[in-house]
Symmetry: C2
Subunit: 151 residues, 2 copies
DNA sequence: GGTGACGTTGACGTTAACGTCAACTGGTTA
DNA sequence: TAACCAGTTGACGTTAACGTCAACGTCACC
C-alpha cells in the first residue's frame, strides 16, 4: 500500500492521452482549463487528469457540438461542482439551461429540415453527374489519375 | 403594361424589410452578399431583393443554425444557381453534402443526449433553489422591483 | 434649402476558440 | 554527458462573422 498504485482504482490520464482519445489538441485542453472548464491536479508541473476530468471533457466537446459556448459550458459545469453557489447565479444558469433547451428543440427541427433538403440536393447533384456520364459514387478524383482499368 | 407594376407578381424587399423579417442586421445581409451568398439586383444604388433572395436568406440562416459555414452554404447555393458548373466542383459539393449529413445525424444524437442531460440538470437546479425556499419558476429578479401588483 | 429617413461604401474593431511558435524544464535512454 | 522525449508557459497570429463608426448620396416634404 505504498509505492505505485494509488489507493483507489482511479485511472488517470496525461494531456496527450486525453487529446488522442478525444481527437483534440493539447493546446485546446489547456485552453479549456484557462477558461475554467477543467481543473486537473498537478504533479510537479505536469497536469494529471482524473475520470471526472475525462467526463467533463466529454461534456465539453459534446456541448460544443450542439452550440454551447465555452462560457456557457463553464456556467453549467460550475454548478455541478460545488453547491455553495450564489442563489442568483443558480437562477441565471437555470434560465440559461431552459432557454438552451428551447433552442435545441428548434435546432433539431432545423436539422430535420436540412437533412431532407440535403437528401433532395444530393439526388439532384447525382443526376447532374449522371447526365455527364459520371458515376456519382466514384471516389474523389485525386488530381491526375491513370484510367483506372475500366473493367 | 407599362408603369408601376412589373409584369409578374414578384414581390420584392428592401434590405431593412428583410432584416426585420428575419431578425438580422442589414450589415449581416450585405456581408452575405459580399461572400457571394446573395446577389440582389440594384436599382440605382440600392439593393432590391426578390422572392428567390428571400428563400436564399432563409436557407442561409437555417444553415447557419445547424452549423454550416458561409463558405459551405455558398457552395451549395451556387450549385442550385447555374447548371454549368465544373464536374469536379459538383462532385466536391456532393461529397461535402454527404459528409454534412453524417455529421448532422450525429448532431441530432448529441442534441438528444444534451436535452436529456439538461432536463436532469434543470431538475437539480430547481431542487437547489427549493432547498433555499425559492420558487424556481419565479421570473428573474430584475435588480429592484416594485411588487408588481400580485393578483 | 434644410432636415430626416433610408441606403451606400469603406475601413477598422471585436470576440471566440484555438494555432503556432520559442524558450524552458525535468526525466530517461544511449 | 548528450540527445531526446513529453510537458509547460508566455506571447503573438489567425479565422469567421459580423459590429461600429464615418462620410456620403437621394428622395420627399414643408
Amino acid at each position: 500500500m505504498k509505492a505505485g498504485a494509488e489507493n483507489a482504482a482511479s485511472k488517470t490520464y496525461s494531456i496527450t492521452q486525453l487529446s488522442e482519445e478525444f481527437s483534440v489538441t493539447p493546446r485546446a485542453i489547456r485552453f479549456y482549463e484557462d477558461r475554467g472548464l477543467l481543473h486537473p491536479r498537478r504533479e510537479g508541473q505536469t497536469r494529471i487528469y482524473s475520470q471526472r476530468d475525462w467526463v467533463r471533457l466529454l461534456l465539453i466537446l459534446r456541448g460544443k457540438r450542439v452550440g454551447f459556448s465555452l462560457a456557457e459550458l463553464r456556467e453549467i459545469l460550475d454548478l455541478y461542482d460545488v453547491g455553495d453557489q450564489q442563489t442568483e447565479q443558480i437562477r441565471r444558469t437555470l434560465v440559461m439551461a431552459r432557454n438552451k433547451m428551447v433552442s435545441l428543440e428548434r435546432q433539431r427541427q432545423d436539422i430535420d429540415q436540412t437533412m431532407s433538403e440535403l437528401t433532395v440536393a444530393c439526388t439532384y447533384f447525382e443526376k447532374l453527374l449522371e447526365e455527364r456520364g459520371i458515376d456519382p459514387r466514384a471516389p474523389v478524383a485525386a488530381s491526375k489519375r491513370k484510367k483506372v482499368s475500366a473493367a
